[in-house]
């Protein structure tokens, strides 16, 4: 059901784990829906120097977390904020239609972690674009 790229990221997830001294964390989803994603960020001078994830969920959820963390590592917070779920799904060379919401979860958890960092550092939380999560339906 999944392509090779997705299976590669599912079986060999990049950046899986915890950052003990993370300065931004975000968790989205819920166990009822069957997926939870937690992102840990290490931000230095507005740049994401390290990122880790923990995921409870299906193959697509794990692969999306893995790919999304790879895509934001070394990026500025603004660049990371602009990573869309569509870009994650495209980088994975496609997800089955009923699994697209997993890539939305990756985008949302990164946003949550970035805003956690910003609010902790006296900055205003960025606002979600309206309608950007229309695909996350259960």
């Amino acid at each position: 059901m999944y392509n090779e790229k997705v299976m590669d990221h599912f079986e060999h997830p990049r950046n899986q784990g915890v950052i003990e001294d993370a300065n931004g964390t975000g968790e989205v989803g819920n166990a009822q829906c069957g997926d939870i994603m937690k992102i840990y960020l290490k931000v230095e001078d507005d740049v994401i120097t390290d990122v880790k994830f923990q995921t409870f969920g299906c193959g697509a959820a794990v692969a999306s977390s893995s790919m999304a963390t790879e895509m934001i590592k070394g990026k500025t917070l603004k660049e990371a904020w602009d990573l869309s779920n569509k870009a994650v799904a495209e980088a994975l060379e496609g997800l089955p239609p009923q699994k697209l919401h997993c890539s939305v979860l990756a985008e949302e958890s990164i946003h949550a972690a970035i805003n956690d960092y910003r609010t902790q550092h006296g900055l205003e939380a960025w606002e979600e674009k309206k309608g950007s999560h229309a695909e996350h339906q259960h």
């Binding site: 999944y2 299976m7 069957g34 995921t55 409870f56 794990v62």
Partner: protein
Amino acid sequence: MNTEKRLVYMDHAATTATRQDVAEAMVPYMTGTFGNPSSLYDLAKVSREAVEKAREQVAVAIGAEPKQIYFTSGGTESDNWAVKGIAFARKAKGNHIITTVIEHHAISHTCEWLEKQGFSVTCLPVDRFGMVDPADVENAITDETILITVMMANNEVGTIEPIAEIGAIARKHSVLFHTDAVQAVGHIPVDVGAQNIDLLSLSGHKFHGPKGTGALYIGPGVRLDPLMHGGAQERGRRAGTENVPGIVGMGLALSLAVADMAENAKRVTTLRDRLTEGMLAIPNTYLNGHPDKRLPNNVNVVFEFIEGESILLLLNRWGIAASTGSACSSKSLEPSHVLIACGLPHDVVHGSLRLTLGEETTAEDVDYVIGAVKDVVQHLRDMSPLTPPELRSQS
């Protein structure tokens, strides 16, 4: 991760391989003796006799008369025919049907459709082991009740229902009783007389027969509308040219399954218990279904903090074929209605794994699966944000 690669098929409740001897017995009816049983010439007579022999084999296996066996295209057709056929044949008498929350979709979706046609359906609950209470059945009967349908054994959790008792209650109240015995026939003893069954559905591919074959047992005096309209096959009750090779294969497969049933069940039960023990040795793991009133080949467990589709994908890399009730693995994204009915919370249902053994399963297979599942569960628990620290690998 895994170094050894083999194929361990642990999904016999989904389907089974057609036995080699069964497949070989079918071939002549596709090639040399291909005649239509309805035709007059000698070639057709061979087909006709083969169908009647299979009818007898099926009848003997469930304690019925050959004339009470009607061949269909499988369990789904048998279930649809029984429920819709009775509902429409008896609608002058009443419009109420009693069923349960754990039925296969072939029953539950049929009942939902009948509700849209004006019938009224009572869906009985089950206890945490997936067991229906016969007292609930009796209490649900009204003057309008025309049919009770309760499955003999559940396909997900393997629980064996008190069919004879429910059948006796149905008899007492003069209500017809149907049972979906798709998972039971060929695996546990079935006797339509002793179990007070009026209609019974069975499916060929669950006992090493071919796919696309099934039968409906219709007891004496039971009238039901046809599902398939057309020719006069099956004594005018089920139209369509008989699937002669399929019917031959199903009849032979069932007679072979029943001949070896007691011995197989004993052997498979031992392996099942070994596998269950191995699963429950994994912390925060729980058994679904009844501890002993369950099919000889069914193991169904939930692992906390992880999700079933991920388990299946990783087990597949070990060459293990299994199944889950997780919403994430189903096309509908709906979690298992059976596990929910047993009272499992939604978040725990996602971590379910069903392993169903077969005749060819060995103790080595079981030990290999135990090892693989342990590895997979730990891998996923290490990745999950829900896992408590004491269950994580030391790294």
